[in-house]
């Protein structure tokens, strides 16, 4: 089975965080609609060939955050109403990603205008607005490669 | 236990092909007669013999190869870990694998023998004249030891560790110790019998040592081949040395004996003057051998001596009782003797080798009265040697079928009695005088008599010949003068058996056995009755043997007839 994302070992983020954020993105972008069944810990671990404990930790955090819900005997599902980021949280997270983007641009030697144009192009490629309810966050498309280096990387 | 059995079954199943080969080998004896083209009558025996030898060879070869590979191959190729990473006790791995090897070796031999056994109906095969049944049993017992030896050898050669050098050194040391012990035993003429229990003992000891060593290697070394080899070598060397030392100790116990260790005194010969005797008999212990000693009863001193190569002792004393000469086997396994001499009157004296050699057995040894010369008779050859230096002084060989007896008449002169056989008359005794330094003996006389139960006078000038009763004749004794060859007296009585012997003091003791009784009389050296000498009477049928005399006593041995056994009695007669 295909998880829909890959684990990047050179990423500074631990594997469980990568899983967590990837699932968040899939949920936020509407690729995993609410009440969809997600792979079990075992199956996801096997398909990613990662330690099941890592997957379990990510799922636990997602469940605690309300993104996933566990139905006894039935498996794990996307929550009916995945949580919303507060406005402050949204601003903070956007700010982090913006810094990262700007650093990448600086490394490439791009001008502010060039980087703004690139940003606009990316928006239009995604469509005017993200699918699903307004409660869902959209950050970036699920399989955009994250910058490998040349940027500050957040706390684990 | 379950683990051991699981390993056993697994290892045996792995070696199915060997058992198949054994069955095929079992069929080969049926082809042998066709190949060699023997007569139909001899075919079964040929088949049986071939089957026995093939089975032995095949099982032996299998045992070596199985022993070398069952653990050694896995260890050398890093596959022993498979077993050690399972819940299997070390002894289960060891026992299961070695047990499987032994079982396969036995099975290989059994299968190779089975077709011939069935064809022969069992009994005939087991009673094959060339191969006794007990050998089959011995071979079956030897196979596990061969397996263990193969294992030890395999480990030593395959692990490529420096301990191989240690093994060779230890083996050489143990072999050296054992060889030295055996040579000592042979030197002291110990017969290593009974052989079968000894061989069994050696085999069992070797088996135990190899068993312990293999266990140490597997249980202690596990998958570490260097450590395993070390443990094997140390255990084997330790066991080997211990056994060799035990063997040496046991041999020493058998060799370092005193007259007290004799269980029976079967030989007794006294020197003139009776200061010393030579005695000997069977030694205590499981080994069947005898030992001989010179013993001085008065002081308790004793000296150990060895016997001649031929198997019984022989000693000649000088007339003055101060020198003893006897032959000893020259070297272990040799068939020649060397003469040794001993000064009996010197305190602290030890046997001295004279460098005088003779064949074994010799036909007689005589020592001169003062112990300076020795005469050796080997069949028809007489040699006179100087005893101190071993130098040959004179030698002569007689022709024809003769028996020679030599006695010293003086320090340098020997009287020879040459017993000649003649078809017509029966024989004659030629009397020679042989001087040391002379070219050849000088003939003095010839006595027309046959050398029956002779008795020589102490001064070697008279000879009594006792002719037994044959047919209608009676037993008589004849006295001869050796210098002239003349018959001095004929002692005989009708209806009686007469025997005469010289006593050490020169008198002649005559025994007359008649139906009415036995009489003993003392005569002078020429055979004439002495005035005033007593006659001694004994019951009818008694045989009397005069032994020793002093001026007023006479020691005789009486053999009394009885219904079932003769009884002996010794008497002093006044």
């Amino acid at each position: 089975m295909d998880a829909g994302f890959r684990i990047d070992p050179s990423d500074a983020r631990p594997i469980w965080r990568q899983i967590e954020e990837n699932v968040r993105q899939l949920v936020a972008s509407g690729i995993l609609p609410p009440a969809t069944v997600v792979p079990s810990v075992r199956d996801l671990a096997r398909s990613l060939t990662v330690n099941p404990a890592t997957v379990a930790k990510a799922y636990q955090r997602l469940t605690d955050a309300g993104v996933l819900a566990v139905r006894r005997g039935d498996g794990t599902y996307v929550a009916a109403a995945p949580p919303v980021f507060s406005a402050e949280e949204r601003v903070r997270r956007l700010d982090v990603e913006a810094r990262r983007y700007v650093n990448a641009a600086v490394t490439l030697g791009a001008t502010p205008r060039e980087s703004a144009a690139a940003l606009a192009t990316a928006w239009s490629a995604l469509g005017a607005a993200p699918a699903g309810s307004e409660a869902v966050n959209a950050t970036a498309a699920p399989d955009t490669p994250r910058p490998r280096d040349g940027g500050n990387e957040g706390e684990p | 236990m379950a683990g051991l059995i699981a390993i056993l079954r697994h290892e045996i199943a792995q070696r199915r092909q060997l058992l198949l080969a054994g069955a095929l080998v079992g069929l080969m004896p049926f082809a042998a007669p066709l190949v060699s083209g023997t007569a139909p009558a001899a075919v079964p025996e040929l088949r049986d013999t071939v089957a026995l030898f093939l089975a032995a060879a095949f099982s032996g070869l299998a045992a070596i190869v199985l022993g070398a590979t069952v653990l050694g191959a896995d260890l050398a190729e890093g596959r022993l870990g498979f077993f050690f990473s399972r819940p299997l006790a070390g002894w289960a791995i060891w026992g299961g694998k070695l047990g499987a090897a032994m079982a396969c070796a036995w099975a290989a031999g059994g299968l190779a023998l089975l077709p011939a056994l069935l064809a022969a109906g069992g009994g005939r095969l087991l009673h094959n004249p060339m191969v006794p049944a007990v050998w089959l049993g011995a071979w079956a017992l030897a196979l596990p030891v061969v397996v263990l030896a193969g294992h030890a050898g395999g480990i030593m050669l395959r692990t490529r560790s420096g301990w191989l050098i240690f093994d060779l050194v230890a083996a050489a040391t143990v072999a050296g110790l054992v060889w030295t012990t055996l040579r000592r035993l042979l030197y002291w003429q110990v017969r290593l019998v009974p052989a079968a229990p000894l061989a069994l003992g050696v085999g069992a000891a070797a088996g135990m040592a190899l068993l312990a060593a293999s266990a140490a290697q597997v249980l202690g070394g596990r998958t570490d081949s260097a450590r395993g080899h070390r443990l094997l070598s140390l255990t084997l060397a330790g066991a080997g040395l211990a056994l060799a030392l035990a063997l040496a100790g046991a041999a020493q116990r058998q060799i370092a004996i005193s007259p007290q260790d004799l269980v029976a005194w079967t030989w007794l010969q006294a020197a003139p003057g009776e200061g010393w005797v030579m005695t000997g008999g069977r030694v205590r212990g499981p080994l069947l051998y005898s030992a001989w000693f010179f013993v001085q009863p008065a002081s308790g001193r004793w000296l150990r001596v060895r016997r001649a190569a031929v198997g019984y002792p022989q000693v000649a004393f000088s007339a003055d009782g101060r020198t003893a000469v006897w032959p000893e086997q020259e070297a272990p396994q040799s068939s020649r003797d060397e003469l040794l001499r001993l000064d009996l009157d010197r305190a602290g004296a030890a046997p001295v080798r004279t460098a005088i050699q003779s064949a074994t057995p010799n036909s007689g040894i005589a020592v001169s009265p003062h112990g300076t010369r020795v005469a050796v008779v080997e069949k028809q050859r007489v040699s006179i040697f100087d005893l101190a230096g071993g130098r040959l002084l004179a030698a002569h060989s007689f022709d024809g079928a003769v028996e020679v007896t030599a006695e010293f008449t003086g320090e340098d002169s020997v009287r020879l009695l040459v017993n000649r056989f003649e078809a017509a008359s029966g024989g004659a005794i030629d009397v020679y005088d042989f001087d040391a330094g002379a070219r050849q003996p000088v003939k003095r006389s010839s006595i027309p008599a046959i050398y029956y139960q002779p008795s020589l006078s102490p001064r070697t000038d008279r000879l009594v010949v006792n002719r037994p009763a044959i047919g209608a004749s009676v037993a008589v004794a004849k006295v001869f003068d050796l210098t002239t060859g003349r018959r001095l007296a004929e002692l005989g009585e009708p209806g009686a058996e007469v025997e005469a012997r010289y006593l050490p003091d020169g008198r002649l003791a005559e025994t007359v056995r008649a139906k009415t009784g036995t009489q003993l009389m003392l005569l002078d050296g020429d055979g004439r009755p002495q005035a005033g000498s007593p006659r001694y009477r004994f019951p009818a049928g008694t045989r009397v043997l005069p032994l020793q005399a002093s001026p007023d006593h006479l020691l005789v041995r009486e053999v009394l007839p009885a219904a079932s056994r003769d009884r002996e009695r010794r008497s002093y007669l006044g």
Partner: protein, 360 residues
């Protein structure tokens, strides 16, 4: 889930490359249960060569410990002692609290072993091997064994010696798992396997981790696979344990910092920058056309900010390292100096010698 627990119990991080020796063992001891695997001050000497030098480590219950090291670093000797097949010169190896050398036979009932070289008798088929092993274990899962053979496409009646390398390893793993072990010890289990077989092998391991909560100790050169599965990592170099740490923590504190040449200009900033860099415990530095690249061993965000502030233009950047890069940085000696098993005391590898990184 015990990963977080192990992380929380790790000793206070140190700047230098000293391993958090025995931390997991201490944590397990504190919790009262014997860890599935524990090595206590183990030393293995062959004559004058020291193959393993006072190594201590522990595997937590349900955890995965990966022991890394270059060839000849002493891993094989250590593993043999762990399996009770070799006697250490000093120290102990314990499985579930019991000394392995003395209680090997009983302990192996709960341990599954996949050795570096396949060691099954070459003449026996997979089925015959299963028949042998069935009698040795109390709870032998024959169905599971057959399933695995089918899944790996291994012909069950073919003699072991005639199977491909990959098939041999799969059979060995299947035999090891069918006994229902609580602990798996794997010594370079994917050596020589192709990518497909490798993935199948690790998938199987992951399945067992998920289904049974088995504890795993493995040695491997497959660093990309190890960094996905291992929770705790040990790095053996010249017989000594350089690193004994949770993987997450290791990856957090070992980073690559890039300092462009332009930032190096200006001597006024040199000293402060040097001090800030020293605080990050530099391990290796390499000079490039555009500047200097430094691998540091004690990264945290605050120290890095200090460095950025001290560097002209604030142009210092940081990135993370794969486990392979971490491994090379720690034990990749100069070829001239590579004498691993003989090195009596390997100094912490790649420690940057004195001098500012600006001086080229």
């Amino acid at each position: 889930m015990t990963t977080t627990g192990a992380l929380a119990a790790a000793a206070a991080p140190s700047h230098l490359l000293s391993p958090t020796v025995g931390a997991a063992a201490a944590a397990a001891a504190a919790s009262g249960a014997a860890p599935p695997l524990a090595v206590e001050a183990m030393t293995v000497r062959y004559g004058r060569t020291t193959a393993v030098d006072r190594v201590s480590l522990a595997l937590a219950e349900g955890g995965v410990y990966a022991l890394l090291g270059r060839n000849g670093a002493g891993k094989s000797s250590l593993v043999r002692c762990l399996l009770g097949q070799q006697r250490a010169t000093a120290g102990f190896a314990r499985i579930f609290g019991r000394d392995v050398w003395r209680h090997r036979a009983a302990l192996m009932a709960e341990v599954g072993v996949v050795p570096e070289q396949p060691d099954a008798p070459p003449g026996a088929s997979a089925r015959r091997l299963a028949r042998l092993c069935r009698r040795l274990y109390r709870g032998w899962d024959d169905d599971g064994f057959e399933q695995r053979l089918r899944r790996f496409a291994v012909p069950p009646e073919l003699p072991f010696g005639r199977l491909s390398k990959g098939q041999q390893r799969h059979v060995t793993l299947a035999l090891a798992l069918a006994g229902g072990p609580r602990l798996l010890i794997l010594d370079d289990p994917t050596l020589g396997l192709d990518a497909v077989a490798r993935r199948a092998f690790f998938e199987e391991i992951v399945g067992e981790l998920a289904d049974r909560g088995i504890s795993i100790f493995l040695t491997s050169h497959e660093l990309p696979a190890v960094e996905r599965i291992a929770e705790r990592v040990g790095i053996l170099d010249g017989g000594r344990l350089l690193v004994d740490e949770d993987l997450e923590r290791l990856k957090h504190r070992l980073r690559r910092i890039r300092l462009p040449r332009a930032a190096a200009a200006g001597s006024a900033t040199g000293e402060a920058a040097d001090a800030a860099l020293e605080a990050l415990a530099p391990l290796r530095r390499e000079t490039r056309d555009w500047g200097v690249e430094v691998v540091v061993g004690a990264y945290d965000d605050r120290r890095f900010e200090r460095l950025r502030a001290a560097v002209a233009g604030g142009a210092a950047t940081v990135s993370s390292l794969t486990l392979e890069e971490i491994f090379t940085a720690l034990v990749g000696h100069d070829p001239a100096a590579a004498a691993p098993a003989d090195a009596p005391a390997a100094a912490p590898a790649g420690r940057a010698t004195g001098g500012s990184p600006w001086q080229v």
